[in-house]
Symmetry: C2
């Protein structure tokens, strides 16, 4: 297996892009990544996307993007794993380059979500859960996460306000990222007064959807001595339904995925300099820290309260805003995380730069932890 | 790059499976492939599927299938490329095993289409075309193929009845396949009296949708000396919209895809013993034969009329019924083709067995030729 490097990075700010279609978003990010890499022709284009089939009436996204990017004849396919779609596209891109058969693989995550009704979006996102055994009961995706958060609070004697550090850190970091949807820090008072979305989840515990796209151009590391390396890449699944888990407040898939990635990279959690985790909800940030070995079970919140997750803390998370402030265009998110980690390891993260970052980790989650894709990147 | 072999095959007959859900279909085929391979644990499960997001409200199919197959923790993702979804899943499975990282990859194609209205299916299938520049005008997918067929007839001075050999061959072959949806031969008179679907396409020119699933278990060839080998695997794209092509009756993507696969396998078209082509419509069968080098442009129909495509002909096609008679559960079709070719090369095709078949080729097409995935298999 040959080593893979990230030669190009592209992204478009997460916004309500009323003037740009699904294909436009993908093309802008994809072309930027290719330009950044100085490469004009890709062998393959893997597109991560969750909702195009229903929201955009498009079930042939790989070929569409290849065509309109001027990359006709390149092989192309869409990867779907709910909100873990873009991380999955990255995983496939790495395997393709590692195989020795493909030399230049463009991976794009794209989602166009704002041109429809909230009701349709809620229904589409429920497709991340089990349609027959969860969604059919009328529970929304945020509702499922609210149940998990409530259970966690009960189990460890926590109050809603204890989760504030996750939102405060994300918004403070997003303020330093021009591609973030929200670019203002928030106060503790704001957090405490957030309106309820699905009790105990309030507005500041839930990440916002949006339109966006991010892309990376992958090549064999031997051809790109100066490019950021992929040191670990692993995907794992857990039960789709939360009700099927032995422990509903433990992300076993995230643990498996992270352990596989650590083993590949030959590192331990303490070697990681920054962690772009999947903070779709505050509770998911806490559970991710625990599953990946940064905190003991039930201690993810205390870790955040101790300031360990801030840019100068022990393990900075959501360094460019995370899903919470950068925004969560669901099927694109995994590649935003990877693009951000790459910029950090290139010392190109601007005001959000983490000093001396040498190893960056990303974790993209589909559903309530059913698909988990972890990547570990390192400075060359 | 290490060579890949097909160690297990599984499929469920194409039917209206009112008693089986989307997950049931996938599990039955997947388990059969694993049992056939004598393997209990897969490293990865790649699921090809086109319409689950809208028809089955499920946007997290990889994890769902892994979970309910008892393969929790295996990595899993869904691949989507319209009707080329399952071929694309196979392609990714091959790259994954070839990379050296994964040892046992299960690829499943599945589609559950009959539990909804014809109107919803027509809308879903239109997602294979360009949503913004084709479907928006109200043209259905069969309508697009009708335009292509009409153009082809005009260009080469052909009549509708000239296409009869494609339907007659497919139905005669399907009659020998217990997994086929239609198992009765048809007569020329039946073909000529088929009711019009979208002029000039009649009932006997169009493949039927259905519920189905087919699966293969892939391993490194070095571990399976007796298993059918993957000699070539290639995917290519063409413009999504037919109106963007220099020649609307030439499948350039199919040509590129086939030429890449021939080069990998080190063979020429005349070395192929059977060809499972994508006969979603009669016209596509003709165009595929031409694009892959079996017939000169405009001569695909004449070739069929000469009897070259029958089981005893020069290049038998649709040997177990093809899309036309076996049925076309859209996102599963590519793996039915591959399962059938594998059975042929194992001498396990029953009554449909092609004598001395040593090299089998499959070609799975998404949209009107926008995604084309070609595989060449050979007897060990």
């Amino acid at each position: 297996m040959r080593e893979v490097a990230i030669l190009g990075v592209g992204q478009i700010p997460v916004r309500e892009h009323w003037e740009l279609s699904l294909r436009d978003l993908a093309i802008i990010a994809g072309r930027e990544a290719m330009k950044d890499a100085g490469i004009e022709k890709a062998d393959a284009i893997y597109v991560g996307n969750m909702t195009s089939g229903s929201i955009n009436q498009q079930r042939h996204l790989g070929a569409l993007v290849a065509d309109f990017m001027g990359q006709r004849s390149a092989e192309a396919v869409k990867m779907e794993a709910a909100c873990g779609s873009a991380g999955s596209a990255m995983r496939q891109g790495i395997l393709a380059v590692a195989s020795g058969e493909l030399e230049r693989v463009l991976v794009i995550g794209v989602e166009k979500m704002t041109e429809t009704s909230g009701k349709e979006i809620t229904a589409a996102l429920a497709g991340a859960a089990d349609a027959d055994f969860e969604a059919i009961h009328g529970v929304s995706f945020v509702g499922l996460n609210a149940l998990v958060m409530r259970r966690y609070m009960h189990e460890y004697g926590l109050q809603h306000r204890d989760f504030a550090p996750f939102a405060l850190n994300a918004h403070a970091n997003g303020a330093k990222n021009p591609n973030a949807l929200f670019q203002s820090p928030i106060t503790l008072r704001q957090y405490e007064n957030g309106r309820i979305v699905a009790d105990p989840i309030t507005l500041y515990d839930a990440s916002p959807i949006g339109d966006g796209a991010a892309a990376l151009l992958l090549v064999p590391a031997e051809h790109a001595p100066e490019a950021v390396r992929v040191a670990g890449s692993a995907s794992a699944t857990d039960t789709l339904g939360i009700h099927d888990r032995t422990d509903p407040i433990k992300l076993e898939g995230a643990e498996t995925s992270a352990m596989r990635a650590y083993a590949q990279a030959g590192i331990r959690p303490q070697d990681v300099d920054l962690f772009e985790l999947h903070d779709a909800f505050s509770i998911m940030a806490a559970l991710s820290l625990e599953a990946c070995g940064f905190a003991d079970p039930g201690k993810g919140v205390a870790m955040a309260q101790a300031g360990d997750i801030t840019p100068n803390g022990r393990i900075p998370i959501s360094t460019m805003g995370g899903l919470k402030a950068r925004g969560h265009p669901v099927g694109a998110t995994g590649l935003y995380q990877l693009a951000e980690a790459t910029l950090q390891l290139r010392d190109m993260a601007g005001e959000a730069q983490i000093e001396d970052a040498r190893i960056g980790m990303t974790q993209n989650i589909g559903g309530s932890g059913a698909t988990v894709v972890t990547h570990i990147l390192r400075r060359p």
